[in-house]
């Protein structure tokens, strides 16, 4: 991430709503098209709800990102929760540990331009997604 980073604590439903709103604003300000803003916001929505559901608390970081001539939005969902033991399984469709919907990670991955995940049991989880302006 480059430049100013917005940090939104995530520990309750109101902060989830705030995180989604901020994602939409940053997306719009960066000049993403409306469909890309919707994808970014929905991805952020899924990720921060995962924080609430599995880690209870965490943080969303939003900022601009650049690579060569490309620029866009980077969103990072960070928590120090239980972590994910089997990341490959969590990224496979129809994987779930809490409720029938699962982590939604495969869906989030399909929705965004770039997706990275770091996690280990007891170490928390960091999911980074990027959307590039076209």
């Amino acid at each position: 991430m480059s430049g100013a980073v917005t940090r939104i604590p995530v520990a309750n439903e109101a902060q989830v709503a705030q995180a989604i709103l901020e994602a939409r604003l940053v997306g719009q300000r960066t000049g993403l098209d409306p469909a890309a803003v919707a994808r970014l916001s929905t991805a952020v929505s899924e990720l921060v709800r995962n924080i609430l559901k599995y880690a209870k608390r965490g943080e969303l970081r939003l900022g601009r990102c650049e690579r060569g001539r490309l620029y866009g939005v980077e969103a990072q969902a960070f928590d120090r929760g239980p972590g994910i033991a089997d990341i490959a399984a969590a990224l496979a469709d129809h994987y779930s540990t809490g409720g029938t919907l699962g982590l939604g990670l495969p869906g989030v991955k399909r929705m965004v331009d770039e997706f990275e995940i770091e996690s280990a049991p007891g170490q928390g989880t960091t999911v980074t997604v990027r959307m590039w302006k076209r």
């Binding site: 919707a38 929905t42 899924e46 939604g104």
Partner: protein, 128 residues
Amino acid sequence: MIDDATRAHGIPLQLSRGRVIASIQLELTEPVLIRFRQDLLEFVRVHAATGVVVDLNGVEILDSEEFVALTRTLAMVRLLGAETVLAGMRPGVVACLVELGIDTDDTLAALDVDAAIDLLHDLDEARR
């Protein structure tokens, strides 16, 4: 006809020829969804409504939990005996729902409210 009880904080419910039209214009947070569920079920029962159209044209972001909460409410409405149709979902919303792998098989949908009313009419005809 707009129910005053739902005007203050909830989602406005309109009744027209036995159909309820619920136009969602605010973020579907959990309290909003819970309130909507209570209001809608009561409204359908009191007015003996035969169909419900939920207009989602004003919704720009709908995540998997919100969509599932909404479709559960519609399943309850169907158990009361009224048909349900989602109307006016935006392309960005439907793209995300499908990418998220959400089961939409039980959900009837239409392009807009008029098309949803027509669809309810066709369902009535088919049942006769």
